[in-house]
Assembly symmetry: C2
Homo-oligomer: 116 residues x 2
């Protein structure tokens, strides 16, 4: 770029926010945000989540569920059965994100073009 | 998965939210969320943004800036100079996202482990 940048634009130190980088590092990873959104309505099992996130493979879904569980955003619940049941639900840290996800949806409805 | 999912978990129709899918389709794309976050503090030029988003290549930065400009989230401003200057700023639809980004940062500070 051989272009000039006006002097008043100098605010580089404020440009990079560590918390936002972290948030998008996790939520920006494909499917993670959708997984948390999918669990806003209540706990769900693996097959339900796979259906809700049309197109995700079993291995990627397993990996994402582990990552979000390790980050304390989800809780993996095992119902000893029989038959054994496994469900995922939002952990308190995931619940704390719900109002932000709702605002994000609201923003998307008003500001993004619908996908055909 | 040979496991059983408890019956009360049946709420599949509510699982997939179109607006959230759209929001993460755009913001979940690497760098897009950070670019909007970087412009929260005011307009910035190409080189400043590249510095703020350490690690992005010129071609990817150009592509992301075009995508966000096409989606009406950013405005590309040309100062006729001389020398010619180009700056990017949040468009009204991008400004509308700022409170959500602030809440997301707040959530990340309280709920995500700091990266070493």
């Amino acid at each position: 770029m051989a272009t000039h940048e006006p002097d008043e634009a100098v605010h580089a130190p404020a440009l990079c926010d560590a918390a936002l980088t972290q948030a998008f590092g996790l939520l920006g990873k494909r499917w993670n945000g959708m997984l948390l959104g999918a669990l806003m309505g209540g706990p769900a099992g693996f097959a339900e989540l796979r259906r809700a996130l049309g197109g995700i493979s079993d291995s990627v879904l397993s990996e994402r569920l582990s990552e979000l569980t390790t980050a304390d955003l989800l809780i993996r619940e095992v119902d000893p059965g029989p038959p054994v049941g496994v469900r995922y639900r939002l952990a308190p840290r995931g619940e704390a994100l719900v109002p932000v996800l709702r605002d994000l949806m609201e923003w998307a409805r008003g500001n993004l073009q619908p996908v055909d």
